[in-house]
């Protein structure tokens, strides 16, 4: 079947199988930041934005995305870099495999709630598993990022 999906701002028309997941679709179109860590919608590695909202791309049919907007970290490189440097400054990226999903969801969090409390951060990102960091370093990075945003966004290198 033919679908037309706006992927990272670019309209992509493709002939796909009806049971293709959005996860597979975005990877086949070069969005390798999107990873798979489970088959049971538990890990958050495959997080993408669907019409601006974070979802698990492994659980959505590409067919359903027909006519919709999909974004991956490839389309959010500036934001990824801006936020990611604070994770990097903690060494909290570690193996990095869960990072794109976590960073996508953190971007979503800050769009919804620019100054979340620790509890709000932990709840919003609870669906992003990480096995390397114990999460504490990610939290420190998030705090540092929030501080940097509070200072106006540029000065805090």
């Amino acid at each position: 079947m033919i679908v037309s999906i706006q992927l990272n701002g670019k309209k992509i028309v493709d002939d796909i199988s009806p049971d293709m997941t959005l996860f597979k679709f975005v990877r086949e179109h070069g969005c390798y930041s999107v990873k798979c860590g489970c088959e049971t919608t538990n890990c958050g590695l495959c997080t993408v934005f669907f019409d601006g909202k974070p979802i698990l791309s492994c659980a959505m049919l590409a067919a359903r995305a027909d006519g919709h907007r999909v974004e991956t970290l490839e389309g959010l490189q500036k934001e990824a870099e801006e936020f990611g440097q604070f994770i990097a400054d903690q060494g909290a990226e570690q193996c990095g495999f869960c990072n794109p999903g976590m960073i996508m969801n953190a971007i979503a969090l800050f769009r919804e709630n620019p100054e979340p409390t620790d509890d709000e951060i932990k709840r919003y990102l609870a669906g992003n598993l990480c096995r390397c960091s114990g999460y504490e370093g990610q939290l420190r990075g998030i705090h540092a990022f929030m501080e940097y945003k509070k200072q106006g966004g540029a000065a805090c290198e």
């Binding site: 990873k35 088959e39 991956t72 114990g134 504490e136 370093g137």
Partner: protein
């Protein structure tokens, strides 16, 4: 020091946080055959007949292999230095399948859909045999997991496949019985740790292709590129020169990828079809056919005087290696070697005996902590229980008995504790958690109790007399450096840490050194990244190589300046003849090295060690326990670590926090449950619950760095020790809240609540 000890970003950090394609499935050839494995539904069975004719007719199927197609040569999948302690008990595919999930056939086809279809169409007739599922019944059971005659144990580890014994070893020191008889109090308890999974976010995976020379290239998510090459060469029956093994970025390992879990299957497909292929394990496969921790019963007996002097230790562990013996003998040794030496202080006698046995359950492997985790849970829990019985503060009891710097450790191969600040770690962890005010517990009303627990841990920094680490450093023409290693950065940051060490020696910044590896074609030999050894062993190789290279740079500079080397002043970027004031830059030297020069500005050095200096740590936890539901909320975890010199405080801190997270998971949530047919039920991240960020509480880390004289810049290790304290510390906190001793992991809320219910009126 300028670079060592600094909080430097990981060299790959920005690539990782921006989601660049750097992992195996991002960089594998795009036209790979998809490889999948047909798995046994039975725990113990013989394949009487296997029919692939219909499956082969599925369009797109390239090839299907069964046991009839593979060499009858047994090998070990454990990534260990030759001759491995692990028995040679595997075939690529075997007629005898030994656990639910064991490989029955390899299917390769042009896409996933056709392979999935073909998998369903292979007809297998099994002769189902009775299964041996309880490891307590393994020894001399009439069911033999490995009855085959070509089973082989290369190393004298007390193995006997005709008795289901993968290893049996004994070691003792002093007059054990006499000392026990003389003690005021003798305690003996048995503890149990299940076969928990590493659950790294990137599952097991390998891609293979043929290179320009017709060689097999194995691109795998592995910690051990050289062992992969050796193991595959044996299993495939081809020379090592025909194989190149390399790793891309790895999405976590924790020891899981110290075993050749997936490599052999696509390697076999590609070697025979000459077509690229890849195998990516699902999470399901990673759970049911991976390489988890060895399930163990640990029986500990300790003898003490009334004043808390700990004098005698007897530890027996029965380890379930599952269907295959990978890492079986070695893990069981650590259970004693890396627990009892903590109490060297007043130790007069000890004994360690273990049996490692086969069963028809999933094969086990290496998981951070590697046997030490099990031993430390048992011993530390028992010491906490002793403190209760003696009405002594557990911190005081430990301070009376801990190993201290300068002591010789009889239970640790008589190695000296040349660097040790364990006592200070303990005092500081207690202080951080507020031990004096909070021990043992406070009733918060409303059925909730806040309590604290504490434990110590140790590990090693390499495998003494075995591990080899190497580094090649070369000067590029423009004055930058290349550092080539075969140690595997699996997110731990060893690329950066080793570059920091090289930069320190070469008097340059980390940014002036790029790191390449791990690749058997271009990296010098390294055992690989396991046994906590990379910083300690490979680090020393880096120091040696950098030191020698610097010497050569100065020699060449002196030639260029036509002066004596002794008159040369070198600051890492400029070499100056102090007599004439003339100078050359590092770039000048780099270009000179490429022109009419016979002094190689490339140095390879190796390092190995007769000792494995233990890092030490203490962990203290405060919890709030709900006595009605049994829920344990972790409020605060304080960890203080002596890992020797801290090379990169950021990365060391994250190692600790990550290890604590995994330790908390295995203590409270991560369960291993089999059906009565031997089917593992915790086969997904839905049914195997690793902690989320809401489950771990606040983790706080500090360091008490000692200086290890045998380590580069005084380092020891940190990778594994960090998983060892949560189980005993949490078990004690739970005891302090409830009065119950929980000796069987995981300590679920159900166990706690049911205990409280039974003892409600006490």
């Amino acid at each position: 020091m300028r670079v060592v000890g600094q909080r430097i970003r990981k060299k790959d950090a920005m690539q990782l946080v921006t989601g660049k394609p750097v992992y195996m499935d991002d960089v594998a050839p795009k036209d790979c055959l998809i490889v999948k494995i047909l798995r046994s539904p039975h725990a113990n069975a013989l394949i009487e007949d296997i029919n692939i004719a219909t499956a082969m007719k599925v369009p797109g199927i390239e090839v299907i292999y069964t046991w009839k197609d593979v060499p009858n040569v047994r090998f070990a999948q454990a990534g260990q230095t030759y001759p491995e302690w692990s028995p040679y008990d595997r075939l690529i595919l075997d007629q005898h399948v030994r656990f639910v999930g064991d490989a029955v056939a390899i299917v390769a086809g042009e896409n996933e859909a056709c392979v999935d279809r073909a998998l369903k169409m292979i007809k297998v007739k099994y002769k189902v045999l009775p299964a041996l599922l309880d490891y307590h019944e393994s020894i001399d059971n009439e069911i033999l997991v490995h009855p085959e005659d070509n089973w082989e144990s290369l190393y004298p580890v007390g193995a006997d496949n005709k008795r289901n014994i993968c290893s049996h070893m004994e070691e003792s020191h002093g007059d054990l019985e006499g000392t026990f008889a003389d003690c005021d109090i003798v305690l003996e308890r048995t503890y149990h740790v299940p076969a928990v999974n590493q659950a790294m976010m990137e599952t097991f995976r390998t891609a293979c292709y043929i290179d320009t020379y017709g060689r097999l290239v194995v691109l795998s998510s592995t910690q051990i590129v050289y062992h992969v090459r050796r193991i595959l060469a044996r299993a495939l029956g081809i020379p090592q020169s025909k194989i190149r093994s390399l790793k891309p970025r790895i999405g976590g390992g924790f020891g899981a990828k110290q075993t050749v879990v997936t490599e052999i299957y696509p390697a076999f497909v590609t070697w025979h079809t000459k077509k690229p292929s890849k195998l990516i394990y699902s999470r399901y496969e990673s759970q049911i056919a991976g390489s988890p921790r060895h399930e163990m019963d640990i029986r500990v007996k300790i003898g003490a005087d009334k004043d808390g002097t700990l004098r005698a230790f007897d530890l027996y562990n029965l380890s379930n290696t599952g269907a295959y013996g990978d890492h079986g003998p070695t893990t069981a040794g650590l259970t004693g070697h890396k627990s009892m030496p903590l109490y060297t202080g007043n130790m007069e006698a000890f004994r360690h005996v273990f049996d490692v046995v086969y069963t028809n359950t999933l094969a086990t492997g290496a998981y951070r902590g590697y046997g030490a985790t099990q031993g430390i849970f048992a011993l530390e829990s028992l010491v906490n229980e002793l403190a209760d019985i003696l009405h002594m503060d557990p911190v005081e009891l430990r301070l009376k008995n801990v190993v201290r710097e300068g002591m010789v450790m009889p239970a640790y191969f008589n190695e000296p504790a040349a660097s040790c600040r364990l006592d200070e770690c303990l005092v500081r962890a207690a202080e951080m958690i507020g031990w004096k005010d909070k021990y043992p517990c406070r009733d918060m009303g409303n059925g909730k109790v806040r309590s604290v627990g504490i434990a110590m841990a140790m590990q090693g920094s390499c495998i003494s007399y075995v591990d080899v680490g190497s580094a090649t450093i070369s000067l590029n023409e423009d004055g930058s450096y290349r550092l080539a290693i075969a140690a595997a950065d699996m997110g731990t940051g060893c690329d950066t840490i080793l570059a920091q060490m090289a930069a320190e020696c070469l008097e340059v910044s980390v940014d002036e050194i790029f790191v390449s590896g791990a690749d058997t074609d271009s990296s010098p030999y390294d055992s690989g990244s396991y046994a906590s050894s990379t910083t300690y062993i490979t680090g020393q190789a880096v120091v040696k190589a950098a030191t020698e290279l610097k010497k050569r740079i100065c020699t060449l500079a002196a030639r260029m300046l036509e002066c004596d080397v002794d008159d040369l002043e070198y600051d890492g970027h400029v070499a100056k003849d102090i007599k004439t004031g003339k100078s050359v830059t590092l770039q000048d030297i780099g270009f000179k090295a490429q022109c009419f020069n016979d002094l190689a500005l490339q140095v390879t050095e190796s390092h190995t060690s007769p000792v494995s200096p233990p890092p030490y740590m203490a962990g203290a936890v405060e919890i709030e326990l709900d006595k009605e539901t049994g829920h344990v909320e972790i409020l605060d975890y304080a960890a203080v670590v002596d890992c020797g010199t801290v090379v990169n405080p950021n990365l060391a801190t994250i190692q600790v926090e990550g290890g604590l997270g995994q330790g908390i998971g295995m203590t409270l949530f991560e369960n291993i449950q089999y059906s009565d047919k031997g089917v593992l039920r915790n086969n997904s991240l839905m049914q195997y619950k690793i902690p989320t960020r809401r489950d771990v509480g606040t983790l706080r880390v500090e360091f008490k760095p000692s200086y290890e004289p045998t380590g580069p810049f005084g380092v020891k290790s940190i990778g594994e020790i960090v998983i060892n304290t949560p189980a005993p510390a949490l078990a004690q906190a739970i005891h302090n809240a409830t009065g119950g001793y929980f000796r069987d992991l995981p300590i679920t809320s159900e166990k706690i609540a049911m205990y409280c219910l039974e003892h409600e009126n006490e």
